[in-house]
Symmetry: C2
Subunit: 378 residues, 2 copies
Amino acid sequence: MQRSRVFLDSGGSSPLSARVADALRAGFADGWADPGRLGTESRRARALVDSSREAIADVVGARPELVHFTASPHDAFARCIAGIHAARRGRHRIVVSAIERDALANAATFVAPHAVDAVPVDQRGHVSIADLNTALQSNDVALAAVQHANQELGTVQRLEDVARATQSVDVPLLVDATSSIGHIDPPAYWDALVAHPADWGGPAGIGILALEPHTRWLQAWPEGDDWAPGGISVPLALASAVALQEREEARHRESERLSALVDRIRAAAAQLAGVDVLGDPDERVPHIVTFSCLYVDGEALLGELDRRGFAVGSGSACVSGTLEPSRVLAAVGALTHGNVRVALHPGISEDDVVRFLVELPDALDAVRTRIGAPRIVS
Amino acid sequence: MQRSRVFLDSGGSSPLSARVADALRAGFADGWADPGRLGTESRRARALVDSSREAIADVVGARPELVHFTASPHDAFARCIAGIHAARRGRHRIVVSAIERDALANAATFVAPHAVDAVPVDQRGHVSIADLNTALQSNDVALAAVQHANQELGTVQRLEDVARATQSVDVPLLVDATSSIGHIDPPAYWDALVAHPADWGGPAGIGILALEPHTRWLQAWPEGDDWAPGGISVPLALASAVALQEREEARHRESERLSALVDRIRAAAAQLAGVDVLGDPDERVPHIVTFSCLYVDGEALLGELDRRGFAVGSGSACVSGTLEPSRVLAAVGALTHGNVRVALHPGISEDDVVRFLVELPDALDAVRTRIGAPRIVS
């Protein structure tokens, strides 16, 4: 990467630290063998997986033997939803918040076609507990899924209230923690939990599923498969654990620093004409902020900022096909196009953010001028 | 690894070469970003995936755009079988050889419960073409699966005859090439093909699926997922391609050398009392040989050899649970316990094999003596 590039798109991916790179090197040197076999090399690989699992379980607050590595968070959602659903025989519906990740919502629809109920959220992205309670009244509910933090808004759900609702009707609660673990305290209320190592500075290509001892599931996939069909990459598991430890060691200090930087971005963006800053300003993860910009196409603004040396994300921008309006932004009643997500990682300095805030108004003007947008009188 | 350890269990895993380790390092440095996003970092990651795909497609003899990375060969089998089956509406049965991998056979049973027909093989492991033709007579066959080479016997199937049978009734043929690519010429006849980078010296945790342009499939999984839900690890993809190129460059020379070593093992093992050498001695991959030993438990013999510094495999030995008799060995009418699989990788020298052949009779005697096995008069 050129020295001057600033990577502000680290929700779900960020450059690997030296310590994580070292862990990967060690993992490939010592953990290349199949951990499922009997020889010395395999035992060594298995020991690496087991210690990685224990380290992650310790942070998540789960029993090590109930922490499973999966091929990806997507695969964790799909297997977990299918497995719990299968165990809840006689109950079919799945209740989700309106702002769950596509991967989770799509997995729910696949398992329970035409039987997924989306619970609305308020303008800041908090699930309506009243509506959740109503949805849970049906005694046909197999499970509920509510995320810990939203990957676009940054809003942190009030999971204590959510869990009170699900527990009162004995419905298992799946918590998507793919945007929170490593950034804030892990959620205290869940029956199943999914996490994403690449979101906390680990490598991509691996996911985490944790279950509570009381959470029942049935195998809903081919015999012989477990949570990771064909096994996982031992070095990726090891690096995931090391990355989480590294983040946890510095978390309180870093979270304060990044949160203050996000506050500055929120304040500066709010000053710009035709820009709305989204999500809960207080009950949020420290490192994420999204704002939407009137008269702007998200992809165009991303491209403009990219040319100026800043990588940012957008809920509606993705290389695969057309730009679909973000479901999350629609659910909170925001503009669904022209949104920019900034996600900070520990390598981001105050100077990086200051430079970004200098470029942002220019980039926005450039894009608006190019499309001949009307002048905004605020 | 101690200098003296000899790893003879490299079907599906082997130590990484310096060149593959370099590729991994480069991949993690340049390919950490999500290849599905829009910024510069993501474009760089995408370029690495695309060039890896092209390199693998070139060796496999497939169109690059029809070569897909998957989470594992297991996942490739499951998605490919489900996807092709879904596209063959009105046809339900799946025809497989009796010695397909468990992962493939289990995926078939999951997709078509009570409708999987296993075609017998002869004593050397060749599929009976007459029985295959009979199984294909039903006009309810959705697809057929026959492996290229068997992971235990080493036997290479006569795929030209197999493909003639499937083509005559227009049934798509899935070829499991997870034990052949990188060791012999790729198969010339297939409609879908699965390969395993870790088997050719690449890292574990990734699989390959290749399709022919005419092969139809329907999405049989949650919306938004493709062949690898949640994406794959870019460095693992890159290292897979580099490992395959490295193997291919030396393949003809190495295959001759390893095949001669396997011939020596076959000859030496055949001299031992109560030992049967399995598989086709000629139509085989160069690097694999399995023999079964009367009055011996596979796990005990593996442990004995492991203590003496040699890692070997066994069709019936696996860390997860009880030792089940190997389906493959049962299908060829061999002893299903007490079998040892030797799989050579390019790092294995003549001296390693000579040392193994010195230890083997002693190890076998030690295990037999321990359980008080009767003396074998041959």
